[in-house]
């Protein structure tokens, strides 16, 4: 028989439904370059993706869920850093993958799934940024589920952070400045800068995700950095 079916039991630590607190995700450390890790993982999974996508396009929801697992952490990471809010990040995560699920039929492998899903995510992020443009002060703090604010900068694994209040204060101050500077960018400039600076994507990829050319992405990055440098100087 050319096709064999295997049933394999694989223990998975993080798949515990109904127990949010019991889930063990990957190590949470903000200091490494997570974008590299994400993109390497994406490269290795591309062959499996093709099979999963075909399956999902046939209506196999389980296959879609496995496919989602390849990308959802980096999508969340992007949305979280961009919006600064766990609730907003979750909304973007939800909307992006639901949209992907509904439109999977129109995915024709003309680009990688990674690019395709990120295109959806960046568009949602842009929408978010446009809606939020009214808010001027945009410090990189995040609100957790209970509404408490915590500084994203303090997420950096630094055991000594509690011991040096002065440094914390400086960090928080800096965080506010950075946030304020970033808020001066247009949504597209912000998006390009975010993807390039914080997630290490090549401008060519950024262009693809924003449905534009590498050249345009380059110009946008240039403008963004000029604005940011100016803003930071003003705040001195």
């Amino acid at each position: 028989m050319p096709a064999d079916s295997y049933a394999a039991a694989i223990p998975v630590g993080e798949l515990s439904r109904g127990q949010a607190s019991g889930a063990r995700g990957e190590r949470g450390s903000g200091t490494q370059n997570p974008s590299l890790r994400g993109s390497v993982a994406a490269q290795g999974n591309r062959i499996d993706d093709t099979t999963l996508i075909r399956e999902a396009q046939q209506g196999n929801r389980a296959a879609f869920e496995v496919l989602v697992r390849h990308y959802d952490q980096s999508v969340l990471r992007l949305a979280l850093h961009l919006t600064g809010s766990e609730a907003d990040a979750q909304d973007i995560h939800q909307d992006a993958f639901l949209k992907a699920y509904k439109n999977l039929g129109s995915f024709r492998f003309e680009c990688s799934f990674y690019t395709w899903i990120y295109r959806i995510v960046t568009n949602l992020c842009l929408d978010h940024l446009r809606k939020r443009n009214v808010r001027k002060e945009d410090a990189p703090v995040a609100t957790d589920r209970s509404g408490e604010e915590y500084s994203l900068i303090e997420q950096v694994a630094d055991g000594r952070s509690g011991a040096n209040p002065e440094r914390d204060l400086m960090r928080r101050e800096l965080g506010r400045k950075i946030g304020a500077a970033l808020s001066k960018l247009t949504p597209r400039e912000r998006m390009v800068f975010e993807l390039k600076h914080y997630h290490g994507l090549k401008l060519r990829t950024v262009g693809e995700m924003l449905n534009t050319t590498e050249e345009t992405a380059k110009n946008t990055l240039f403008r963004a950095t000029q604005k940011l440098r100016g803003a930071l100087l003003e705040m001195r």
Binding site: L98, G105, L152
Partner: protein
């Protein structure tokens, strides 16, 4: 002025977005120009400052909660019309998979065995590939065999064990003479279904050497009428030539080919094959018609010539 160009590109240099030759030029210039070197320092400082808002990894809680929420939403999301509207394009799919022709044929069986292989008895229930069937080695990494799809993913309630059912394709070898039934079955299958025309042609050729069997004739006729590759069709014609005299169905199939085939070589060969059958009134009718109305001058003249030799019977 060079400094302007370098200043414009320092940002891209810092972000590693310059082409190699541009990067080289910038580096060369920076070595000589203190003003631009200072600018570089400033940009680097800017880069470091912005990096002080590092990207945090989403907390495990957030990740798990997001996944759960998505799962619930997916359950209520309608799939329906979207999936049905999608036209499954097997040719394109196979090209995407880039599998060897035999594997592809095997997948065809899995997906469409019922539809395509209707005439073949051996399809119903029995394994297609007979021969040594190695028992699945439980230690073999599932990724070593090619995975064609994942059937289901379930979780044992209350445990952290996940069950995954997935399909794989494995390639097998078989040897035998043309008299061997199993060999014939595979050849028949290959002639009808294979994605690679070279393999189809080989199959048809071997079949023409195979002993006289009804199945073979049917497949050759099918190939003659349906194969997209004219070389394969010609081979099929060769194989059928022995039966034109004795089997009316074959004769009709060859006539069909003479009238309808898109390839002139195939048509000429078909014409050649029916020539000795002029006693058949159907053949005569066809030849007459072709001699009068066919688009191709060669066919017309040959058909006319053939008919001219026939004594007036009608």
């Amino acid at each position: 002025m060079k400094c302007d160009w370098v200043k414009d590109n320092i940002v891209f240099y810092v972000y590693n977005e310059l082409e190699d030759d541009a990067r080289y030029e910038v580096e060369q210039h920076l070595g000589r120009c203190p003003a631009c070197a200072a600018e570089l320092k400033t940009v680097r400082k800017f880069h470091a400052t912005l990096s002080q808002a590092p990207v945090a990894e989403p907390s495990p809680n957030l990740l798990a909660a997001s996944r759960m929420r998505l799962q619930e939403a997916l359950e209520t999301t309608t799939q329906g019309g979207f999936w049905q509207r999608l036209v499954f394009d097997p040719g394109n799919w196979m090209r995407q998979m880039r599998l060897a022709p035999a594997m592809v044929a095997a997948i065809f069986i899995v997906g469409f065995g019922g539809g395509i292989a209707a005439t073949y008895n051996f399809m119903s229930g029995r394994p297609v590939i007979v021969g040594t069937n190695p028992t699945p080695d439980s230690n073999t990494s599932p990724l070593e065999a090619s995975i064609t799809g994942i059937r289901s993913i379930t979780q044992d309630p209350g445990s952290n064990q996940v069950n995954i059912k997935y399909d794989t394709v494995s390639t097998k070898d078989i040897q035998g003479s043309l008299n061997d039934q199993r060999i014939q079955q595979l050849l028949l299958f290959a002639a009808r279904n294979n994605f690679n025309s070279g393999v189809r042609m080989d199959a048809v050729e071997k079949l023409t050497q195979a002993p006289n069997e009804n199945n073979v004739r049917e497949v050759l006729m099918y190939s003659l009428q349906n194969d997209t590759n004219p070389g394969v069709r010609l081979k099929a014609l060769d194989g059928l030539s022995g039966f034109v005299r004795q089997d009316v169905r074959v004769r009709d199939a060859v006539l069909q080919s003479l009238i309808n085939d898109t390839n002139i070589g195939v048509r000429m060969q078909a014409l050649h094959l029916v020539e000795p059958m002029k006693a058949d009134s159907t053949v005569r009718t066809v030849l007459t018609k072709l001699g009068q109305t066919d688009d191709n001058a060669s066919i017309r003249s040959q058909a006319k010539a053939m008919m001219a030799q026939v004594p007036e019977m009608d």
